[in-house]
Every structure is written in structure tokens, then in C-alpha cells.
């Protein structure tokens, strides 16, 4: 067993509320694992228990092969969704502050100062004045400065455009290729496709695990193409079905083609099926 992080039957209850109900999850070196789930599914509580920030109610977690400790957590690079930067300091000051917090002596760490070079490439302005994409990149560089073995990223590319997102994922991928384990919590398809393995949490449990294809598991939506799509949409809504628009077509989630035909009540339309998106799959799992 050489997983960087390994939980077994991890549980956390708050009184009557079982937030995490027995989760097994491993993150190996060089692997990017995506943790998906709706708000309230237990992702954050699970992560806090797994890393030992919160005492679990049951089960075990091993971080670098040992029960989580401060020493172990010092080998984690963490980027919260809010980026965790000080907006009133410059990039360099943020980097120095973080280095001091992790006990990196600036003179004695060649590898850290090598990485500080990239910090020097940032504008000499306050962090609050930098564009969001640059702030995300900075938070990431700082999280790497102390040479972590495991990166924990919370929606690392939230709010940035397609190109900046692609550039950030290139940096994340390079870390994984160098043997660092990466655990990403995410909401979005764009991030999920970058992961080697996905785990979907629903109600405190892992409801599905594997590649995107494993999670979608052949589930389909019914597609409806009608000249009068508005009428089609209206009839499907009236029938209480979960409908949404895609272009000028309509997608119906969680219903059989026969149900859709009945709801359309003779309206001319072409009915077909298509694979569900990851979002749609998660909505189905949550039902």
C-alpha cells in the first residue's frame, strides 16, 4: 500500500446528521483524482476528516501511510477556491509569508527559490489588482513552493477562461507527471475530463467511481427535435418531466421514450436518445 492518501469506511456524524457515511478513497502518486458532488454531499467534510483537520466519527485515514498529523499536512499543497492569498500584499510578499509559515528558510532552499523565480515574473502590484487568472496561477505556484507530495485543489480553474484554464491544467498535469498526487474537488465538466479517475459523492457516500464513461454507465437522455420546440417543451413541462434546452432541441432526463411520446400527445417530433452529460448523471444519482 503506497497510496499518498487512503481512507477506509471514513465516517463523520454531527448529532443525527451523517455527513460522511463510510468512504473508501485512495490517491496514488502521480494520479489526478476528481471528487465530484452536489453542495451538501459531504465533499468538504470528507476532505477535512481525511486530512485530519476534523476528527472522524469512525473509519480510518492514512496520509503518507500514517495517521494524519501536522507533520504530514506540511507535505500537502492546498489551494482553496478563494485562493487563500492576501489581497493587500504583492505576489512576492505572499510567497514569502507562505514560505515562513511552512518553515522554509529563504537562503537554504534552492528548489523553493527556483520556484520563487516564477513568483518574480508576476507584476509588482498588490494581489487584489491582478486578474483572476493570474491570482489562481500565483496561489498554485505558492502551494508548490514547499515541495508538496500531495496537492489538494478546490475548483482550481473556477472563474477563468478556456485558455487560462488549459494553461493551469498543463501545470497541474506536469506536477502529476512528476509523481505528485492530486486530489481535485470540482463541479465542472471541463475539470472532470482532466482527471484520471472520478469519485462522485452523494449523501455522504461514493455513489459512482471510475472514468467519466464508468460514471455515465450508459445512461441516456431522451432527445426531442420538434419544429415547434416551444410547444414540445411546454407539453413535457406540463407532464412534470425534467426538461432542458440544447440548441433548438429538448433533452428529457430520467424518463423513458414512451413517457415522452405520451407527454407530447401527438405533437410531430423526432425522438432519440443521447448519452447523459456528467451534470445530468449527477442529477440522476442524487434523485
Amino acid at each position: 500500500m503506497n497510496a499518498l492518501l487512503s481512507t477506509r469506511s471514513l465516517r463523520k456524524s454531527y448529532g443525527d446528521l451523517d455527513a460522511v457515511r463510510g468512504v473508501d478513497l485512495d490517491v496514488e502518486a502521480g494520479e489526478i483524482v476528481g471528487l465530484l458532488g452536489a453542495n451538501g454531499a459531504g465533499k468538504t467534510t470528507f476532505m477535512r476528516c481525511a486530512l485530519g483537520i476534523l476528527a472522524p466519527s469512525g473509519g480510518t485515514s492514512l496520509l503518507f501511510g500514517r495517521p494524519p498529523s501536522r507533520l504530514g499536512r506540511a507535505r500537502i499543497g492546498y489551494v482553496p477556491q478563494g485562493r487563500g492569498l492576501y489581497p493587500d500584499l504583492t505576489p512576492r510578499e505572499n510567497a514569502q509569508f507562505s514560505a515562513a509559515a511552512y518553515g522554509i528558510r529563504t537562503g537554504a532552499t534552492a528548489s523553493a527559490s527556483e520556484r520563487a523565480l516564477s513568483v518574480d515574473s508576476y507584476p509588482r502590484r498588490l494581489v487584489r489588482e491582478l486578474p483572476l487568472g493570474l491570482q489562481r496561477r500565483l496561489a498554485f505556484d505558492i502551494a508548490l513552493a514547499h515541495g508538496p507530495l500531495l496537492l489538494v485543489l478546490d475548483e482550481p480553474t473556477s472563474g477563468v477562461g478556456p485558455l487560462e484554464s488549459a494553461e493551469l491544467w498543463e501545470v497541474i498535469g506536469r506536477q502529476a507527471a512528476a509523481g505528485i498526487g492530486v486530489l481535485v474537488t470540482t463541479h465542472t465538466m471541463n475539470e472532470a475530463v482532466q482527471c484520471d479517475r472520478l469519485a462522485v459523492m452523494v449523501d455522504g457516500l461514493i455513489a459512482a467511481e471510475g472514468t467519466e464513461a464508468d460514471i455515465i454507465a450508459g445512461a441516456t437522455v431522451v432527445t426531442v427535435e420538434a419544429a415547434d420546440w416551444q410547444a414540445a417543451f411546454d407539453r413535457l413541462v406540463q407532464a412534470g418531466l425534467l426538461v432542458s434546452l440544447a440548441g433548438r432541441g429538448v433533452r428529457v432526463l430520467g424518463a423513458a421514450p414512451e413517457q415522452v411520446l405520451t407527454a407530447l400527445d401527438g405533437l410531430p417530433a423526432a425522438i432519440g436518445t443521447a448519452p447523459v452529460t456528467l451534470d445530468e448523471r449527477m442529477a440522476l444519482l442524487a434523485q
Binding site: L36, G37, A38, N39, G40, A41, P131, L132, G133, S158, G159, V160, G161, P162, L163, E164, S165, A166, W169, E170, G173, H187, T188, M189, N190, V193, Q194, C195, D196, W229, Q230, F233, D234, V237, L242, V243, S244, L245, A246, G247, R248, V250, L253, T277, L278, D279, E280, M282, A283, A286
Partner: protein
């Protein structure tokens, strides 16, 4: 048909929108996609009449024919869900009974029945965004502008949010949303990809993919040239693929990233 034609806006020296044109048709959902600073919010504010462009023309309704969800907030934290809706209704001049009826209808549409008495401050992120969207719909507007309705919203709520937005279009409204997620642009009727205030690509998403110039291929290692990571492999673009390359059918993500890389190269 609503929209903007050859619109330019500067904030000081910084171009926020540079010669941007985009149409928003009734009965459709159109989407502006781009990152922070791309000009998405400025475009919405131009359509809402809150920013006057230096150049170009704007076609948009005013008053209660225009509904807008701003990027942040969009509801009052110390009012309940119902009070938020009824307040907007009274501003739009609905009578008391109309306001009550319209609010109830929208609460049901958004699936917020169990939360109707909850304060704005006590709502989850997804619920608050849904409330913001239905507040924009109160006056049955012809043009609905939604600034990042799904940002920070979890996948399950996002599916419900899409149903809500689709419903407004099905009832005939011209809906314009902004997003940072390309998969949302992919399901819009028309999209506009902005980068630093300039149009990267626009039109029907499927058509943009079909008509993309050059060739896309997949590689196991990052070679020289234009490439971006997709899982464990790399997607690459060039005018012509190298011999033996494993050519792929691009998706909208590939097409937009390739266009952004070309634009960046042209600028350098």
C-alpha cells in the same frame, strides 16, 4: 431581435469591448463565454443600458421588458424568498394580487416551495442563484440577461437552473447568459466567445465546430506548436496535421482553445 452591433467600450485606456457584434433572438438561449476580464459583464451592462458604448448600436428593450441578474447578489439578504419576489413585482408596477400570484408561480417553477419563507442570507448558493433568476423573470421580460447564473452552483442545481432558463426561452423570451463553462456554450442556440474584449468565435456552436479551420489531432506527448492537455493526452492544432497524426473530431472546447491560442500568437 435584440443585440449589439460593432460596439466598443473602454474603461480608461483598457478596452472592455472591441468592435463586438452579437444577436439575441426571442425564444432562444444565447451564451457569452469567457474568463474574468473577457468583457462578459460589460456586454450585459451595455444591453441593460447601464454602460453607453463609445461606438456601435444597441438594440434592447427598457423597463419591465428587461430582466437582469447581476453577477453578484441579485437578491436581498434580509428579505425572504417571497418578499424578494414581491418587492421586484411592486417595482414593476404589478398589483398586490398579481405580485402574489406571480411570485407563487415562480417559486414553484424554481422548486423553492420549501424555502419560500427563508431569508436570502439563509439560502444555499444554488438556491440563491435560482432566486436571482426568477427575480429577473418577474415582469415577463422580452430580454433576460443573466450574468453567470451557474457559477458556484453545483451540478444538480445546475440542471434545475437550466430547466428554469430554458423555460423562459420556451415562453418566448430572448435569454442571454454568461458563463466560464464551455459545456454551457455548447448547448446554447448561439454563443459568443470573448477574450480581452474581442470576439474569438461566435455563432451556432455546432456550426463553429464544423467550420473550424485547420486540423485537430491527439498526441501522447506535448510536441511543439499549439497543444492543450485533455486528461492524459494532448490535443493539438495546426493548419495541416503532421504525417501519421491521429486526427480527431474537435469539440467546442478544442475549437475555442485553438482560436484563443491563435489570437495570442497573432498578438505576440
Amino acid at each position: 431581435m435584440f443585440g449589439v452591433r460593432n460596439v466598443s467600450v473602454h474603461f480608461g485606456e483598457v478596452p472592455a469591448l472591441d468592435d463586438v457584434s452579437f444577436d439575441v433572438a426571442p425564444g432562444t438561449v444565447s451564451t457569452v463565454v469567457g474568463g474574468d476580464g473577457a468583457g462578459k459583464t460589460t456586454l450585459l451592462r451595455v444591453l441593460a443600458g447601464r454602460v453607453v458604448p463609445e461606438r456601435g448600436t444597441v438594440s434592447a428593450p427598457i423597463g419591465r421588458d428587461l430582466g437582469m441578474l447581476p453577477a453578484s447578489a441579485g437578491s436581498w439578504a434580509n428579505l425572504t424568498v417571497r418578499q424578494n419576489l414581491e418587492f421586484v413585482a411592486s417595482v414593476f408596477g404589478l398589483s398586490r394580487s398579481q405580485a402574489v400570484a406571480r411570485s407563487s408561480e415562480l417559486i414553484e417553477l424554481a422548486g423553492l416551495q420549501t424555502a419560500h419563507d427563508r431569508l436570502g442570507s439563509a439560502l444555499s448558493g444554488g438556491m440563491r442563484r435560482k432566486l436571482g433568476v426568477i427575480m429577473a423573470l418577474v415582469g415577463h421580460p422580452q430580454l433576460v440577461l443573466l450574468d453567470e447564473p451557474s457559477t458556484g452552483v453545483d451540478p444538480v442545481s445546475r440542471v434545475e437552473l437550466w430547466r428554469l432558463i430554458s423555460r423562459a426561452a420556451a415562453e418566448g423570451a430572448a435569454v442571454l447568459t454568461t458563463t466560464t463553462y464551455l459545456d454551457e456554450a455548447e448547448r446554447a442556440t448561439r454563443f459568443l466567445a470573448l477574450e480581452a474584449g474581442r470576439t474569438l468565435l461566435s455563432g451556432d456552436p455546432a456550426e463553429a465546430v464544423r467550420s473550424a479551420p485547420g486540423t485537430f489531432w491527439v498526441a501522447t506527448h506535448r510536441g511543439p506548436g499549439q497543444a492543450w492537455r485533455v486528461g492524459r493526452s494532448w490535443h493539438c492544432w495546426a493548419a495541416t496535421a503532421p504525417p501519421g497524426a491521429e486526427v480527431i473530431a474537435a469539440d467546442l472546447h478544442d475549437v475555442v482553445v485553438a482560436a484563443a491560442l491563435r489570437a495570442k500568437q497573432d498578438a505576440a
